[in-house]
């Protein structure tokens, strides 16, 4: 069963065709590779996340999904600051430090698309005033934005 209906898929395909610039790699970190889940892990959430990303990646040659196991690829997990799964790392021309933890469904599916497009273009949509503040930050800032799909 598909997550995206044909109309939505076509809309996204057109949007990607006009708005994507640089290729985007979506690094999907899963509990384990090969379908083996450890006790307490919600494998179903990871499986849905995998399905969503695969369907989205089919809509543009510029979007690619790579799957990693949190334990079997511990080096990559550490490099990309991934400690919990499922986690998506978005890489464009560079790593802009954006991660999504959990299933990007419901309203958050739009968030997923917006991040892919922004990372591909290498710029967000903030005001000049915001740009100035961010350019002059004296220290590192880590944001955790809590959301729900509804």
């Amino acid at each position: 069963m598909s997550f995206l209906n044909p109309q939505d898929a076509e809309t996204i395909r057109r949007r990607f065709a006009t708005e994507l610039e640089a290729p985007v790699r979506l690094l999907l970190f899963l509990p384990a590779t090969g379908g083996l889940a450890l006790p307490g892990e919600d494998w179903q959430v990871s499986e849905y996340t995998r399905q969503i990303l695969r369907e989205v990646a089919e809509l543009s040659e510029r979007v690619r999904v790579e799957e990693y196991g949190l334990l079997s690829h511990a080096g990559e997990a550490q490099r990309y600051r991934v400690r919990q799964v499922p986690a998506i790392v978005f890489l464009g021309r560079e790593d802009y430090g954006i991660r999504y933890l959990g299933l990007p469904a419901g309203y958050e599916f739009v968030t997923l698309l917006e991040i892919i497009i922004a990372v591909s273009r290498g710029r967000g949509e903030v005001s000049e005033a915001t740009r100035r503040v961010l350019a002059g930050l004296p220290g590192d800032v880590h944001l955790q934005v809590f959301v729900t799909p509804t």
Binding site: V45, Y100, G102, S127, L137, D140, V141, P149
Partner: protein, 68 residues
């Protein structure tokens, strides 16, 4: 994306209840900054930027649009 100093995790709160509990997330969106400062709700961009600047000891910019 506008600064290499800024990183961001979007966290689906129901799937990561321990994180949500740790930062007492009762309503979304809630933005936690450096685990010490927080902003609840979909606030205007200047407000979020002011909170962010405050968290790292930068001088907060004057909010634009006067939405105080």
């Amino acid at each position: 994306m506008e600064s290499p100093r800024v990183t961001a995790d979007i966290v689906e709160a129901t799937e990561f209840p321990e994180l949500a509990r740790r930062f007492t997330v009762y309503a979304v969106p809630k933005t936690v900054i450096n685990e010490t400062h927080e902003v609840t709700g979909a606030v205007p961009e200047p407000h979020l930027v002011a909170a962010l600047a405050q968290a790292v000891g930068a001088r907060a910019p004057a909010p634009e649009g006067g939405e105080e």
